[in-house]
Symmetry: C2
Subunit: 334 residues, 2 copies
Amino acid sequence: MRTMTGPAASRRVIGIDLGGTKLAAGVVSGDLVVHHRAHRFSRGADQNEILDRLVEVVDELKLQNDGEAPIEAVGMGIPCLLDYANGRAVNTVNLPIKDLPIRDIMNERLGLPVAIDNDGNVAALAEQRFGAARGKRDVLLLTLGTGVGGGIVLDGRIFRGSTGSGAELGHMTTLADGPPCQGNCPNRGCLETLISGTAMAREAKAIAERDADSAFARELAEGRDITGATVTELAADGDLDARAVLEQVGRYLGAGLVSLTNIFNPEAIVIGGGAAAAGDLLLATAREHLDEHGLTPNKDLVELRPAHFGAEAGMVGAAALAFTECLGEPLEER
Amino acid sequence: MRTMTGPAASRRVIGIDLGGTKLAAGVVSGDLVVHHRAHRFSRGADQNEILDRLVEVVDELKLQNDGEAPIEAVGMGIPCLLDYANGRAVNTVNLPIKDLPIRDIMNERLGLPVAIDNDGNVAALAEQRFGAARGKRDVLLLTLGTGVGGGIVLDGRIFRGSTGSGAELGHMTTLADGPPCQGNCPNRGCLETLISGTAMAREAKAIAERDADSAFARELAEGRDITGATVTELAADGDLDARAVLEQVGRYLGAGLVSLTNIFNPEAIVIGGGAAAAGDLLLATAREHLDEHGLTPNKDLVELRPAHFGAEAGMVGAAALAFTECLGEPLEER
């Protein structure tokens, strides 16, 4: 029996999604509607600057929200391996954060209750409770951004591992002896280094270098940087090089989905993050690979879906976390 | 608060571990002592022959057990993707079993209550409750045999996935575009195809073919087959080729442990199965790889241990399952 209630639509919190490149924050009400938004870059900032920018966006959002229902708490999704019980960011692959008691620091600087969790976990929570995997109990999520985030919901609850630093689905060894992984990860051939936006950009730049007539080379010649978004945009315009990059990424994503499907026998896997904007170009290739290489019956039982909350799944999930952890509001399916 | 009680030592069940090569069965009492044993080969048998051999070993054990406490139930660990609720073996990689309502069939043929589960799951249960990972709540197990079995215990309970066909840890894509996997698995570069006993034998045979002076070539010349056991025995005798095979397998095992440690943030990973007889030759290499390539803090928090029940973990776990599922005896840590 699932109740049809959730946090009151009249209550408001701030949800923050701290990514390896960008920081997205929003004022979110109990019905998970986003009322105000604020953004910053996170790339290039050191640990103290990141903390400052987190405080800045909260101040900016409070100002935007002035005169409306008050902000009662802040939830943050951060791309870190966490000591969950102590609200501590132990280690992170794509940001310069290490051994930081971030929950207590933010709590003190903001004067508000603060809840933190891994960014993939909160995005998975949002999608399982209110998004693309609503009604399913065993759900995984991959977010393709600067890195590859992972979230695991088992029997309706976030799975964090024994201390809170699990669900690093981007760091499965997928191509042993492959290229070194990104950032602070000491592994080779991680899924992240094969399918993240960073990986897409790396492949695109390699093409630009090989072929001066390619659309990627033209982008660089015209002074634009190449990112994962460049690849998905050019692919949508029909550029064959960009499509080839997405197809390769789709196959590696498929190889990762085979692992996850064989391990977890999940009901659904949700694909989110900026790079997932490639949509069918990416997901259709990945699905085909999974159908061909996954074990029966798992591959037939799993649904593959794009994130309902798109690039805002992390932000909405962080808000949902704040409602549950700080305000004690139940987060039931509605 | 954990109780100190368990199934009564006076009650007896039969535990059966059905592997890809061998079938091992034993009469087990509530204190998990094995009183009688029976073995058969499973390799080469078709589905009906396997069922016949399962019935045979139970009859043989009943005879051995005659005059002692009666056999009350049978537990079976089978290397299958299961429909757990219906006791159905849906698919298997290393045996010719498909879509078989094996629990009901065995129940009818044996006239005893029967419980079935994946062989890796029951082995993990035995090790977590009574063996190498006693006292830990989040435990994984890999068994290196004909294939590579996997078992997952989360917060003290077996994790089976949404329908019972999860925990196929041997079928993570570890070397994308690598060699085709074994048996019925349609994937390439699965962990299983890199570290199973079958994989060890394959490598050893390749060496025998390249080098007629190798110890492996001598084994073949003298009419002996090469198996995973050949490799571990020759390595223990100091043969450099055999040690090289184990080192490569150890590195790939390490690559798999990196994935599992990053995903699950477990307290312990237990290594069992025949090939694990290689002991430190294998585990030390794998541990080194994990230390070098795993994410902090997960790699530092996980303990790597050989199976306490050794090659009998599956049998003892199957018996433990029968006590819980068929007799309603609690299986608490003791």
